[in-house]
């Protein structure tokens, strides 16, 4: 008679050092192997969508910051683009360039957090502090521009709240010169470290057709081998004026679409963002950033779905207007929400230590999952 073994249910509860927020993962284990994973979310639900229906269009902007709090510029960017499409207004070119510069700096800052915390989860505690030290420099650039380090309320519908500080462009150039060698230092510490490769290569492999069917986007989709970037394929703002590359996962250290690929794509993307910022600094024209901000936003009855390339994936805003000053319905499609849906498929067959590696490589932010 065979020995009857029970499956153990392990709760990686809402309070856990590694789940990047309040996420509850219910794991069914057989020994150390996972046979099922159920994510439970909703701990950070702050009713963003219901709030939007009670506020006017400009009042929604600070609330969009707080969804994905590690990439606030992009949340505001996406919202401003969606409402401008609905209104049919055109913003001055200087505004577009500044938005792009801010967005790309925000991308670097967000990827630094992702890489630093990923190293911390795997056990390498020092790169975390190096990443945060470099991120502080970016955040002080932001503070100089709009007064806030993390939640900006800077990109308004129709323009920006403040123009750039006179020293901003010089300091941006200095930062780029300072940061390029730091990427190489990060590569030496983590990327080519044998222990790190053993922990992340061939772990959490995401096949491409599964990824597209589940709606995965951003660096996770690119790591599975698909060259898809909304900045190039559905170009918004002035991204079509810049020359940059889209890094794609090649399975250098293991299989295409494993955790190492997802991590390495983020490092390569930081390099590409530096290129975009350099070109934007060269090309930026003069202009007035507040000239196109409408006095009163009252779009015609209609709807729009507009999307931008968040550091985490495709951030989509679906806005329905009924002709009044308040939006009728704002639905935000956050990439982290979508990526959590694939956890059950992705975790089957791996061990508990791999859960942390896989969860860290997907790079979720609970603020965006729960809104």
């Amino acid at each position: 008679m065979a020995l009857k073994t029970e499956e153990m249910i392990l709760n990686m509860g809402p309070q856990h050092p590694s789940t990047h927020g309040v996420l509850r993962l219910e794991l069914e284990l057989e020994g150390e192997i996972i046979v099922g994973a159920k994510p439970h979310i909703g701990y950070l639900h702050r009713c963003f969508e219901k709030h939007c229906e009670a506020m006017s269009y400009p009042q929604v902007t600070p609330y969009t910051d707080r969804m994905d709090y590690l990439a606030s510029m992009y949340n505001e960017f996406g919202y401003a683009l969606a409402v401008e499409k609905l209104l049919g207004i055109q913003v001055p070119e200087r505004v577009e360039y500044i938005r792009v510069i801010m967005g790309e700096f925000q991308r670097i800052a967000s990827h630094l957090v992702a890489i630093g915390t990923y190293g911390l989860d795997i056990g390498a505690m020092t790169p975390f502090l190096y990443c945060f030290r470099d991120r502080e420099k970016i955040l002080s650039l932001f503070e100089q521009t709009c007064g806030a380090r993390l939640l900006y309320n800077y990109i308004w519908v129709g323009g920006l709240s403040h123009d750039l500080h006179p020293d901003f462009l010089i300091q941006a150039r200095d930062f780029i010169k300072y940061f390029r060698p730091k990427i190489k230092e990060l590569n030496d510490l983590l990327t080519n470290n044998k222990i790190f490769i053993d922990r992340t290569a061939n772990v959490g492999i995401l096949p491409l057709d599964l990824a597209i069917n589940y709606g995965i986007s951003g660096p996770n989709l690119r790591a599975s081998g698909f060259k898809w970037d909304i900045r190039k394929d559905d170009a918004y703002s002035v991204y079509n004026k810049f020359d940059f590359d889209i890094p794609v996962g090649k399975g250098t250290m293991g299989t295409v679409g494993d955790c190492w690929d997802r991590y390495y794509i983020r490092i390569l993307e930081m390099e590409e963002s530096l290129k975009i910022i350099e070109q934007a600094i060269e090309q930026i024209p003069e202009g007035d950033v507040t000239s196109a901000i409408p006095k009163r936003i009252k779009p015609a009855v209609g709807q729009v779905y507009s999307r931008v390339e968040n550091p985490r994936g495709e951030l989509g805003y679906f806005i329905i207007s009924d002709g009044s000053v308040n939006p009728f319905r704002v639905k935000v499609k956050g990439p982290s929400f979508v990526h959590l849906g694939i956890m059950n498929e992705l975790l089957k067959g791996y061990m508990i230590a791999d859960v942390i590696a896989i969860l860290g490589s997907i790079d979720i932010v609970l603020g965006e999952v729960d809104r």
């Binding site: 909703g42 609905l86 639905k331 499609k333």
Partner: protein, 176 residues
Amino acid sequence: MKTTEEIFEILKTNFGESILELVTAAPVEKFIRINQLEVDKVCQFLRDSQELLFDSLMNLSGVDDANGKKTAADNGDQIISGGTLSVYYHLESTKYRHKLVLKVSAEREKPDVVSVANVWRHADWHEREAYDLFGINFLNHPDLRRILMPYDWDAGYPLRKDYKNPEFYQGMKVPY
């Protein structure tokens, strides 16, 4: 790359009665209205047909149309009766780069829509969210339960226009 009108014609030839109308009047997007009980067959066709190949669902959202009769209940709250709840689907093809918007409407009193979770696994969690916040019942969904609200929230569906917060939830006072 196909336009919405061309796709409308293709769908009309294949599905006839289920395709209701093509709405082009309002800005910015045009959308096609579909019968709520046939939407999974239409979506399966849209995904698998070689000239359309809509293999990616960009977004799925529930909307409270608030187009019913607004009456005042005994305690002064506003109740909407009649009217519809809708679901919007935004589709995209990664190969041909064309996009499509579908709309499905269901009665407010009995909002049944067939689930497309078997066509695009992406729809799974979005439909759970639409069920949680609007009460739209998705037929044939693999695991329909609340996702953002607590699992035992019995005070209604928060994003409906006539929703009012309950006084107490499990002994805790809700409005503060």
